[in-house]
Assembly symmetry: C2
Homo-oligomer: 200 residues x 2
Amino acid sequence: MAESNTTRDRIVNAARELFYEHGFAGASLADILKKAEANSGSLYHFFKSKEELLIAVLELYKDMMQPVLLEPLWKDVTDPIERVWALLGGYRQFLIMTDYTYGCPIGNLALEVGNHLPSARQKIFENFENWRLAVRRCLEDAGARLPGDVDRDKLATFVLTTMEGGVMQARTAKSIEPFDSSVEMLKDYFARLMKAPDRA
Amino acid sequence: MAESNTTRDRIVNAARELFYEHGFAGASLADILKKAEANSGSLYHFFKSKEELLIAVLELYKDMMQPVLLEPLWKDVTDPIERVWALLGGYRQFLIMTDYTYGCPIGNLALEVGNHLPSARQKIFENFENWRLAVRRCLEDAGARLPGDVDRDKLATFVLTTMEGGVMQARTAKSIEPFDSSVEMLKDYFARLMKAPDRA
DNA sequence: GTCTATAACTTGATAGAC
DNA sequence: GTCTATCAAGTTATAGAC
């Protein structure tokens, strides 16, 4: 995992940070090696190309989601609907804390690599899937508080959509307003769903 | 504008296409010049750096929004709410038509350049603003069909959020499903707003 | 305003000793 | 598994003739 200190892990972690800050194309292997305090020979001992290093980074993100993202945010929140807002609140805090410099690392890579690197696209997809499944689980746990005819899966996708679209606009505006506006609309939608009579 | 054929315009247009396909860092000036059938001397006669060329591309996008994006999509649609769906439908068609290879060029650049190029960030912001204002205008034109206490500006932001988040996920999934799910939720939200009694 | 040539540097990747 | 040295190609940007 991330906390161990093998050469391989130092390289992957440095790559994760620099891909996050400068993008995949924008981060050079030289900079990554410098940050990792490692040498070119080590990098190419573990990975056969920069692309393979990216795959390792995306796998690390998958492994990090539960312990690094969800657990701290959900530690003191048991209500499943509140957990959805806590998750969005976490991104909100992070945006403000970093003065809108950093957004969602997966979203960044999603738009940068597009279809150019198929194996990376697949890993990005898996990251989105895990996020969506975590939210869907919350919505399922909400049980009858959401009407039976509300599609939990689609609604979870919509929560991810709101997060990614809101983060993108907040970073561009250097203001939390677009993010807050989007989340406010989403919350209002939830409120209307939850007070509506069950049509099922 | 884009249709003229001066050397400058050919360069800006080639840059627009290659930044779209490969990103700002991923598109080289050599490739841009080759596509534009122009030489390095011409490029640096008009622009003092690659970054300045990006600014020109972002200004072109601003100029293109009305005639190239909105006008064709809204030509046969007069109902203001339907115009919102026509706009989202245009992106939907484009995603499918390009097999999820291309998304929103502004969204791509928004996440790639972040805060690294402040003047570019400003232009990206202006592009988002124009898009949001066009949608807000639709919502305002809908008049009393939306309850008076619905914030048109925030709702327009939320439409843009839905578009960008949906496009991101559809490209990653190589499937229209996440986009359709998101738009379906947004439409349901609109339906609930529009049938709700005016609380104002 | 357009051309060619090229500077100055960085890129991803490799070779081979230890 | 880690090191140094290095390659070949590509990068942005410039110089100066026309």
